[in-house]
Symmetry: C2
Subunit: 244 residues, 2 copies
């Protein structure tokens, strides 16, 4: 059996970092997706195996904590493993390390398996091979909670229309593009003084090409923001971002 823990290396290319020469959260999110895809593919439950049984993985929730953002021209190591499986969901966990093996962050993610045509959830336990890979490994960050809908004291922070570069192979807003649109709500000065220590995301409904999305924002408490993407009255996605 293939090692249940996948280990992948990513180079933090200078020309792709932010203005501080640090990896960005959308970039790290992209690396996480690549690691998840490879890990699943190598173990028989990746994109091609899934589509061969008319299914596709859909990200439902995610929490990422970064203690130290990787600098340009360094290597970031991502370890990922299957943490749990039940009928509706599987949890995939991540640990981030720098080139010296120092842990610089963790993440948790929750995935559903939907039918390609009905877009309805399918039984994750059907995927025979998956449960065999469940692994216990340290991941001390808080879990992925349900972010309550914004009711009052919010402001509209931005809006955008979902374009060609935003949509993925499922024809919906790419999971990592959500992060990009969320972090872009903050002024660049915030990134000079602070870091996003934790981001938690609830993917609620699918963002379709051409849709106009409003981004609502509320500061829950000092440095902690809840943001919501709305397509009219429909909640598409919510996030809680903690600056430190």
């Amino acid at each position: 059996m293939t090692d249940p823990i996948g280990r992948y290396e990513f180079e933090i290319d200078a020309y792709l970092t932010d203005f501080r020469g640090r990896a960005t959260l959308p970039m790290i999110g992209g690396f996480m997706l690549q690691s998840a895809t490879k890990h699943a593919e190598e173990r028989g439950f990746g994109y091609s195996s899934m589509t061969s049984v008319q299914r596709v993985w859909v990200l439902s929730r995610m929490a990422i904590e970064i203690f130290e953002y990787p600098k340009n021209d360094t290597i970031m190591v991502i370890k990922t493993w299957v943490a749990s499986v039940n009928r509706l969901f599987t949890e995939r966990y991540f640990a981030f390390e720098n080139a010296d093996g120092k842990v610089i962050g963790y993440a948790k993610s929750l995935w559903a398996s939907i039918d390609l045509s009905t877009r309805k959830p399918t039984n994750v336990l059907d995927l025979g091979g998956l449960s065999a890979y469940i692994t216990e490994k340290e991941n001390p960050i808080e879990g992925m909670s349900k972010i309550p809908a914004l009711k009052d004291n919010f402001e509209k922070a931005a809006d955008f229309v979902i374009k060609y570069s935003d949509v993925d192979i499922n024809k919906h807003l790419n999971s990592m593009k959500y992060i990009e649109h969320f972090v872009d709500v903050f002024d660049i000065d915030m990134f000079r003084e602070k870091e996003i220590r934790r981001i938690e995301i609830n993917y609620v409904s699918e963002g379709h090409y051409g849709t106009k999305i409003d981004v609502l924002k509320r500061e829950e408490r000092d440095g902690v923001f809840v943001l919501e993407m709305k397509d009219g009255d429909t909640n598409v996605c919510a996030t809680r971002i903690t600056w430190e």
Copy 2:
């Protein structure tokens, strides 16, 4: 001496492709930047060597032709080399191959070396090691022409404000984000029926954080578009895109 031609492999990850399961032009552009960065770094004229002498590479022009966009879950190979060097510029060329070694495209790029504080061009010939790497290798695509400014018969196609995720380590709009904003001007239906066969870009002035950019568009002839990014009256960037 290190091989003058660098060869780099990139995986076309399913969850990062477009709705057709194909690599996108901004993605290929990102791979080109990564290849250029690695190639230069390995040969002593990369980001860190440049900043140690108070300089930084700035992309001035680029032309990319793709005959066949790589599909998801395949490998794309990028070969890159120094094609010429003079006082003001160096040309870097690229060849793209699929996993079977079939050529699927080419690109040409033109770089200036600017002083980190004055932002003025420096003499590229000062970079002693660079000229030793000049290589002759087939690259049959048309060169990088100057795209004339739009004077009439154009329409405003879009506008956007340069945000945190758009800016690079130089604090200016990331060279590949230009491509993303340009291709997003087209309706997704164009991508169902046609492909962008060639894109040519002139980087004219630097796009700063917070600036509102207007994107102007003119169809020169059937399937050939000239687009311009303007910051007020200032031309920031122009492109010619050929659909086939």
